[in-house]
Amino acid sequence: MLRYVLRRLVLLVPVLVGITALSFSILHLAPGDPVYVLLGQEYTEEAAAQLRRELGLDRPVLVQYVLWLGRAVRGELGRDLITGEKVSAQLAARLPTTLLLAVTSMAVALALGLPTGIASAWRRGGLVDHVSRVVAMVGVSVPVFWLGMLLIVLFSLKLQWLPPGGSLRDHGPVALVLPSVTLGLTFAALIARITRTALLDVLGLDYVRTARAKGLAEAAVLYRHALRNALIPIVTVLGLQVGNLLSGAVLTETIFSLPGLGRLIVDSVLRRDYPLLQGCVLVTSLTFVLVNLAVDVLYAYLDPRIVYA
């Protein structure tokens, strides 16, 4: 197992180099010039040329990339073009918020989705099943950013229970409540649907009938025998949702003015801030591949038949 994890970690290096090289070239092919944004009113040909030289933007893309990569390995991601702040410092300031948001919203999603899915599958065709399927269907259809606005109107503006937005530093943990619920509800609908399907598949199998036949309590059959095997497809789908989770985080952070990584990505694109965006891409893809690795390791834990050599 350890050897497998180590090998996967080594394999991450070419993947990360590939992703960053790709994003680097895409950005430099894109129309729109950061120098133009930076100079604004004071734009002249000479000033632009000089600024390009200072920022190293006049050199070939490949040279720029290799230089960036060399510094990135040492943890230096440069300074952003607009404010001149260190990119690494900005990422360090923003990443915890987004990671926290991801964890809390997944917790909300699992807390709501798993029990609903289990109840649905257990009493298939019953009242819980019908209601939860309708709610889940609506849940996957409502856009996350609109859901966020509805919750703001209800809980912040009408009831005034929670702040309508703002950073963790200003409001403390309360700032995360509405964003986590917003993002979590969307995924809860998905988890309920998958859990129901996966459990129904397993409940029809012979070993479940055997477990019942030998007189086990229904709860033991459900949790110890059926759910354990149904977890594998659930984990697979959750692993695939990491990308969607980040997309959702971009929107949720925008709605709730939560300064996280997602919002930083959008802002850096809109401002054509190459070093900043490049840093965001690096952190995003690193998180992404690490989560996938964790999912694969989790498989082996959930299903002893899976052995990584």
């Binding site: 994003s23 895409i26 950005l27 092919l29 894109a30 129309p31 729109g32 269907m137 609506v138 996957v140 259809s141 409502v142 856009p143 996350v144 950013f145 609109w146 606005m149 509805l150 703001i152 109107v153 503006l157 309508p164 399907t197 129904l200 695939l240 990491v242 990308g243 969607n244 980040l246 997309s247 971009v250 929107l251 925008t254 709605i255 990505i265 959008v266 694109v269 809109l270 891409v281 995003t284 992404f288 996938n292």
Partner: protein
């Protein structure tokens, strides 16, 4: 079921039995019927928008700023006094055009890639599918942002960006379907009769892979509509002065306290349209996809 099995072996292309399954899937259940009604509603709104409202889409009326829903303005007015109902009706056009074209593009490209990968196999298969894995895994918003950033924000580029992020799903589903159909006896028969590989793929394999692709396309239309709204909401999609449900939501966000109706109606419109696509897609999947049919 025995009728269906028999007809499948004798008539591989389209049969009366299969067509019956389609109609039953669409009209047989209350949920799918509701989905169809929702979609008909949206299409009517998009097509007949100028007939349904006396106002022009961008008609500014400073006197009537931020008015709540009334007899004159059923859904109220926005910060420029524009009629929300009118803008919601016209917004259906953008959503439908983006949803349909992006899905069509993604279906065509994804099906072609998946079919080629499965039919020819080997290194092409391995390369294409790993590429699809990477695309599938990447945050769709970041991917769409990248495409929009490279090409610049405009309606065709928006459609292209959304299509690109949907291609991997279609490639995967088509690949799976082609892999199983490829094994069928009638495909071997066609090959033995001397049909060229391209003809075998086009005439014998692809028509029998349609079901899962159609199901995915229906569900994808909803996702595409959602993605358009999300990107426009972030300021990366439809650019002012043009507008869509997504940009209307971005406007409404600034007036949640004083004029909540600005955000309410476009949000409702997006939700109901996507719900319609999902309901119809789910019903089709239950009816056409043999692996979920028993649930």
């Amino acid at each position: 079921m025995s009728v269906e099995v028999a007809s499948r072996t004798h008539l591989p292309v389209r049969t009366a039995v299969r067509d019956l399954r389609w109609t039953r899937a669409l009209f047989g259940q209350p949920t799918s019927l509701l989905g169809l009604v929702l979609l008909v509603f949206v299409v009517t709104a998009a097509v007949a928008a100028p007939l349904l409202t006396p106002y022009a889409q961008e008609a500014v009326d400073v006197e009537a700023r931020l008015q709540p829903p009334s007899a004159r303005h059923w859904m109220g007015t926005d910060q420029f006094g524009r009629d929300i109902l009118t803008r919601v009706l016209y917004g259906a056009r953008v959503s439908l055009v983006v949803g349909l074209l992006a899905t069509a593009l993604a279906t065509a490209a994804g099906a072609a890639l998946g079919a080629v990968a499965a039919f020819y196999g080997g290194a092409a298969d391995e390369f294409l599918m790993r590429l699809m894995d990477v695309l599938l895994a990447f945050p769709y918003i970041v991917l769409a942002i990248a495409v929009a950033a490279v090409l610049g924000p405009s309606l065709p580029n928006l459609i292209l960006a959304i299509a690109v992020i949907r291609v991997p799903q279609f490639a995967r589903v088509t690949r799976g379907a082609v892999l199983s159909v490829k094994q069928m006896a009638y495909v071997e028969a066609a090959r033995a009769a001397g049909a060229s590989p391209a003809r075998v793929l086009w005439r014998h394999v692809l028509p029998n892979c349609l079901n899962p692709v159609v199901v995915l396309a229906t569900l994808s239309a909803g996702t595409a509509i959602n993605a358009e709204a999300a990107l426009s909401f972030l300021g990366l999609g439809i650019q002012p002065p043009a507008s869509s449900w997504g940009t209307m939501l971005a406007d409404g966000r600034r007036f949640l306290l004083d004029a909540p109706w600005i955000a309410t109606f476009p949000g409702l419109a997006i939700s109901l349209t996507v719900l319609g696509c999902n309901l119809v897609g789910d019903a089709l999947r239950d009816a056409l996809d043999p692996t979920t049919a028993r649930r």
